[in-house]
C-alpha cells in the first residue's frame, strides 16, 4: 500500500513535469513534440535521478554520522563543488561539460580533504571529526568562492550565484546517460550496506558485536554517498533539503530499516525533485527559479513540522 502510494506519487510527478512547462504543448502532440522529447523528458528523468540520489545519500549519511540532521552536503561537498564551478566560470572554461566536470573535481577535492581529516590521529572516520572537517572544508571553500565571485563581473556573478542554488536547465539525454551509468554502483554499495546501517544506529561498538564490520561499512558508505552526491551536484548544482527531508518523511512511513528505507528515499527524493523542478520552471515562466530555492521553500516548512513532531514525541 505504501509502495503503491509512493509509486503513484512518483508517476504523477514525472507526468506533471513532462506535461507542464512554459511552452504550451497540446496534449495530443505530447508524444511528437521536440520540446517534450529533447527538453522535458530528459530534464524530468534527470531531476528524478538527482533527487533519488540525494535522498539515498542523505538517508545513509544520517545513519553513518549518527545524526538525524545530516544532509548530503553537510560534509563539505557543496563548498568544494561550488568552488570548482565558480573557478570554471571565472576562467571562462568552455564546452558543455566544463562546468559539471569542474564542480565534480571540486567536490572530489573536498571529499578527499574531509576523508583525510577523518583519519587524523587514528580517528577511523569518527563521525564527530567528519562533521567538523566537513564544516571546516566547506567554510574554507566558500570563502575562496566568495573572493572569486566578488572580483568577477556582473554576468559571471549572476551565473555563479544561480549555479550555487541549483538548476536542471542543462539537462540533456547525455547528462541522463552519464548519471544512469554512474549512479548504480554507489547506489548498490549503499543498498548492500542496509543491514549494517541498521546496526550502526545503536552505536559503533554494539554494531560491531552484532556482526557489522564497522570500519569497512563506514568507509564504503561515506565514499559511496559522497560520490553519489558529487555526481548530483556536478549536473545540477547545490540542491538542498531533498537529502535532509526525504529520509525523514520516508522513515515515518517505512520505519528505520534501511532495506526498505533506502529504496523509498530514492523514489521519494526523485518524485520531490521532479515536482520542485516543474514548479521552478513554471511559476515565474518564462523565467526560471533556481530549483534549490523551491526545495528550500517546500523543505523548510516540512522540516519545521518534523521538528515539532520530534519535540512532542
Amino acid at each position: 500500500m505504501r509502495w503503491v502510494a509512493l509509486g503513484v506519487a512518483a508517476g504523477l510527478a514525472l507526468v506533471a513535469s513532462v506535461v507542464l512547462g512554459p511552452a504550451a504543448v497540446p496534449l495530443g502532440e505530447l508524444t511528437r513534440s521536440d520540446i517534450v522529447w529533447s527538453l522535458r523528458v530528459p530534464r524530468a528523468v534527470l531531476a528524478f535521478l538527482v533527487g533519488g540520489s540525494l535522498g539515498v545519500a542523505g538517508a545513509s549519511l544520517q545513519a553513518l554520522v549518527r545524526n538525524p540532521l545530516a544532509d548530503p552536503f553537510l560534509l563539505g561537498l557543496s563548498g568544494g563543488a561550488g568552488l570548482g564551478a565558480v573557478v570554471a566560470l571565472a576562467i571562462h572554461l568552455s564546452g558543455p561539460w566544463a562546468l559539471p566536470l569542474a564542480a565534480f573535481a571540486g567536490a572530489l577535492g573536498a571529499l578527499a580533504l574531509v576523508y583525510r581529516m577523518g583519519l587524523v590521529g587514528g580517528a577511523a572516520l569518527d563521525p564527530r571529526i567528519l562533521l567538523l572537517a566537513g564544516v571546516a572544508v566547506g567554510a574554507f571553500a566558500a570563502a575562496i568562492t566568495t573572493a572569486i565571485v566578488s572580483l568577477a563581473d556582473a554576468a559571471e556573478l549572476r551565473n555563479a550565484f544561480l549555479w550555487l542554488w541549483g538548476g536542471l536547465s542543462a539537462a540533456s539525454w547525455d547528462t541522463v546517460l552519464v548519471l544512469v551509468l554512474y549512479a548504480p554502483l554507489p547506489l548498490a554499495v549503499l543498498f548492500a550496506a542496509a543491514r549494517p546501517l541498521d546496526l550502526l544506529a545503536l552505536g559503533e561498538e554494539p554494531a560491531r558485536y552484532l556482526g557489522a564490520d564497522v570500519e569497512r561499512v563506514k568507509r564504503r558508505v561515506y565514499l559511496a554517498a559522497s560520490l553519489l552526491t558529487a555526481a548530483a551536484v556536478a549536473v545540477s548544482g547545490v540542491i538542498g533539503f531533498v537529502g535532509l527531508v526525504v529520509p525523514h518523511i520516508a522513515r515515518l512511513a517505512w520505519g528505520h530499516r534501511h532495506r526498505a528505507l533506502l529504496p523509498a528515499a530514492f523514489i521519494g527524493g526523485g518524485a520531490l525533485l521532479a515536482i520542485a523542478d516543474t514548479l521552478a520552471r513554471t511559476v515565474v515562466a518564462p523565467r526560471e527559479l533556481p530549483v534549490g530555492v523551491v526545495t528550500a521553500l517546500i523543505g523548510v516548512p516540512v522540516f519545521a513540522l518534523l521538528l515539532r513532531r520530534w519535540t512532542i514525541a
Binding site: A192, R195, D198, L199, L202, E205, P206, G211, R257
Partner: protein
C-alpha cells in the same frame, strides 16, 4: 568429570593502549566453557573493559592469546563471531525510535545473508529470546518507554537472539534497582543452567557475583589479583587490598558476602 572444550580462552594476555606508559592488562588467563558463569571484578580502571575488548577481538593482544573456539578473536570475521558470542554492551543509544521486537530482531542480523529477508526461523528465534527473558509482553512497546530493568532484559534478549554459545555482559546491573538487578542475575544464571550458555560478566556487584558465578577473576591495575571459586578469591585481605577499603566478610549459603566498614572518624585537625 567432563571437560568441555572452552569457548573462550585467554592465555597470559597483555595489552597496552597506544601512547600509554603501562600495560592496561597483563598476565591474565581465563577459560570459559558451556554452562559456566564467570564474573570479572575489580575497581575502576583495573582493566575490565580492556579484557572485554580483547575477548571480543576489538583489541589485539600484544602478547599471549585471546581465542574464541580455538581461533584468535580478532581474526574472526565479525559476522561469524556474532553467531558465537552475544554481547550486552555497557552503553548504546538508539538514534531512531524502535520497537522492542525490532531491536531484538537486530540480533538475527549475523544469521542473515546480504539481501535475504528474515526467515520464519529468525522470527521464532526472536520470540524464544523474548520468552527466555520474560519480555514477550514488552514486544510491541517503544524502546524509549521501557524502564531500566525492562531495557536490560530486552538487550539480553537481543543477544540471545544471536543464538550464541557465549554471552558477554559488561556491567549489566548498573542503575538497576534491587528487584531488577536480582531478576537479571537470576535470568543469567538460569540461562547458564538451563541452556548451557557460557557467561562472562563484568560487574561491580561483588556480592551478587559471589553468589551467582562459578568463578570470579579479581583484577587490580590490570593484573589478576586472584582467580578461582568465589570462596577462595573473595577473602577479607584480598578485597581490602584490591579495593583499598576496610571490609568484613560473612558467609551466606556457603558464599562469601562482603560488608564495607565505615571509616573511623578522624578528629578534625
Amino acid at each position: 568429570m567432563s571437560s568441555a572444550p572452552p569457548i573462550l580462552s585467554l592465555r597470559d594476555v597483555r595489552y597496552r593502549y597506544p601512547g600509554a606508559t603501562q600495560d592496561a592488562l597483563a598476565g591474565v588467563s581465563l577459560a570459559a566453557g558451556p554452562g559456566e558463569f564467570h564474573a570479572v571484578l575489580g575497581p575502576n580502571g583495573s582493566g575490565k573493559t580492556t579484557l572485554v575488548r580483547l575477548v571480543l577481538g576489538a583489541l589485539v593482544p600484544a602478547a599471549g592469546r585471546a581465542d574464541i573456539a580455538g581461533r584468535s578473536a580478532h581474526l574472526w570475521p565479525r559476522q561469524d563471531l556474532a553467531r558465537v558470542v552475544g554481547v550486552v554492551p555497557q552503553r548504546e543509544d538508539n538514534l531512531f525510535p524502535q520497537r522492542v521486537r525490532e531491536t531484538v530482531l537486530l540480533g538475527r542480523y549475523p544469521h542473515l545473508s546480504l539481501w535475504g529477508r528474515e526467515r520464519p526461523e529468525d522470527h521464532s528465534a526472536v520470540e524464544r529470546a523474548l520468552a527466555a527473558c520474560d519480555a514477550v509482553q514488552l514486544a510491541d512497546r517503544w524502546v524509549w518507554t521501557l524502564s531500566g530493568g525492562e531495557y536490560q532484559r530486552v538487550r539480553v534478549a537481543r543477544a540471545l537472539a544471536q543464538e550464541p554459545r557465549l554471552l558477554v555482559l559488561d556491567e549489566p546491573g548498573v542503575s538497576l534497582d534491587l528487584r531488577h538487578e536480582m531478576a537479571l542475575f537470576e535470568l543469567v544464571r538460569g540461562l547458564v543452567d538451563r541452556a548451557g550458555l557460557g557467561v562472562l560478566m563484568i560487574t561491580h556487584q561483588l556480592n551478587l557475583a559471589a553468589r551467582y558465578a562459578d568463578t570470579v577473576l579479581l583484577l587490580a591495575d590490570g593484573r589478576p589479583a586472584a582467580a578461582g571459586a568465589p570462596g577462595d578469591v573473595l577473602t577479607r585481605e584480598t578485597v581490602e587490598r584490591v579495593f583499598s577499603w576496610p571490609v568484613t566478610m560473612q558467609l551466606l549459603d556457603g558464599r562469601p558476602q562482603m560488608v564495607p566498614l565505615r571509616q573511623p572518624k578522624e578528629p578534625l585537625a
